[in-house]
Symmetry: C2
Subunit: 319 residues, 2 copies
């Protein structure tokens, strides 16, 4: 199809998204082994850990140890997340590849409830972050607009709000003389459907036709890959994904804890449609199995169970 991109870049967030909600009993060495295995699949960027309060997120208490022990593979970036300056300082002490971002939220209510700051205050805070990044020579690559497709407090998000926030992100970048790679739209709480994805992307494209767009999608209500397909049709070539759908849990008891779209399911769909991912699906499936062993319960991914089509294609070709 003329509109599908020739290739996509997938940012693997499994280790961070996954282990931050799983048990704190997972040995550091297992987390390290998982990250190292992911690096062998062809993924180019792995979000490894978050530097947060270990009391609140016990699964990340060993963030610094994980970061220190990972044997890096050339050509792969190992990133992390922080929520405050203390977290960034901890991150900078590790061998991780520290990359900054500009993060705003389309829903002011979500913003206030999550951070205590309204949008204007958040913009000021992002300015302070950009000062820090400049001072510490930390590259800034992507902007992010959260709750871009819906918010549990505000409901549907008018694409005009998303456009306004993208505009604010771009203004902040210009102010700081940062050249962004593009802006991510995040479906933070899983409200998106292919239609709202198309509308949101369309509204942004109308203002900035050449701005690369990324998508951060959660599969809370099962529309994740359909949303990704809608975005691929519009030429979007940048997505966050998690191996095995880490970050979510299929058990009824974990209501609402739905992970990002699953990396291997996305790789399968893309490769089958002629979109290059640069990722070895068979190796990635092995990583997904490893992830399930590590967390000790099934994860939502489908290809980890159904397998790729490779054995059948070989069999068919041999007939």
């Amino acid at each position: 199809m003329a509109d599908l991109p020739a290739s996509v870049a997938l940012h693997e967030e499994g280790p961070r998204e996954g282990f931050q909600i799983e048990s704190s009993d997972i040995p550091t060495a297992r987390k390290v082994a998982f990250i190292e295995a992911l690096a062998e699949t062809g993924v180019r960027q792995i979000d490894c850990v978050s530097f947060v309060n270990p009391q609140r997120v016990p699964g990340m208490a060993d963030a610094a140890e994980v970061a220190a022990q990972v044997r890096k593979r050339p050509g792969v970036r190992y990133t992390g997340l922080w929520l405050n300056t203390k977290g960034l300082m901890r991150a900078l002490e590790t061998p991780l590849d520290i990359v900054g971002a500009i993060r705003l939220t389309a829903s002011e209510t979500f913003c206030v409830r999550n951070t205590g700051m309204n949008i204007a205050q958040t913009i000021d805070e992002q300015r302070r972050w950009l000062d820090v990044y400049r001072e510490k020579r930390i590259p800034v690559e992507w902007g992010y607009v959260m709750t871009a497709f819906g918010c549990n407090f505000e409901g549907y998000i008018d694409p005009a709000k998303v456009v306004a926030m993208v505009g604010q992100v771009l203004d902040l970048a210009t102010e700081s003389e940062v050249s962004l790679r593009g802006v991510y739209l995040a479906d933070t709480v899983g409200w998106g459907t292919p239609l709202s994805i198309e509308r949101g992307i369309g509204a942004v494209r109308e203002r900035w036709p050449d701005l690369p767009i990324g998508l951060h999608l959660h599969d809370t209500r099962g529309t994740g890959l359909a949303n990704a397909y809608a975005a691929l049709r519009l030429g979007v070539r940048q997505f966050d994904t998690t191996c095995a759908g880490l970050g979510g849990c299929p058990f009824a008891g974990h209501k609402g804890a739905a992970g990002n779209i699953c990396t291997e399911d996305m790789v399968f769909m893309c490769e089958e449609m002629g979109i290059a991912t640069g990722i070895d699906l068979e190796k990635l499936i092995e990583c997904a199995r490893m992830a399930e062993e590590i967390v000790g319960h099934p994860l939502p991914g489908k290809v980890v169970r159904g397998g790729s089509l490779a054995p059948y294609k070989r069999q068919a070709a041999a007939r």
Copy 2:
């Protein structure tokens, strides 16, 4: 969007698809209660049981009892499946709404491996079925072409083969003076992606622009709802789905046992995109929870865990 249909019809296959692979210890009364609960959601057709050899499919040993005990709700059709004349005779002794079909397969190898008959023999067999349906005044509504998007033996299925099989189905219908409602394309072993779905539907539409098309999709590799969305964009308004994604299992041990696309996930996506389903999502979610209790393990559906957006929309409207 101009191309999305105003409404869709979903054929609920959960009881049949699901209970035929689950334990044979499920009490008949539970299966009956589940079917009756589904009938309260607005679904218009429920595939309840299959009349098959109870030695081979112990989960269906009580098919006749289930069929006899279900208290039917007016306006809902309660159907069943059979594989041979013996099965049909058993089905006819029950109060079920017996509906016939014309079933062919695009992959000859799949056909032979599954039934021992090649396509020509299968066509003759379908003629014999049509004679039986005529004799017994059993309505025939849909044609089906299985492995329409791929086959584990033959690999990719050329859309030309699908077109040929649709043609055969329509010829059989004409021969028997049956007026079909349309033809289903079935992704029997989960090879489909949005692109191959579009190509297959496109090829059929090129020959028969006004032929209603139905889709029977399996979510083996996670592309189920993305495939459904691709079909919706092409105006397809008829789908088979299963409550909670019954027929599949998230456990690694059940490799490859992937169910149909999940009814409530499909209802969520459709309703959110302005496509009427006639189904009460909240009641359907209750059915999905019931399904998980009955089978005793998590099922793949996402909305059963994430919930609908209704409470958040109410909250947002109240602010």
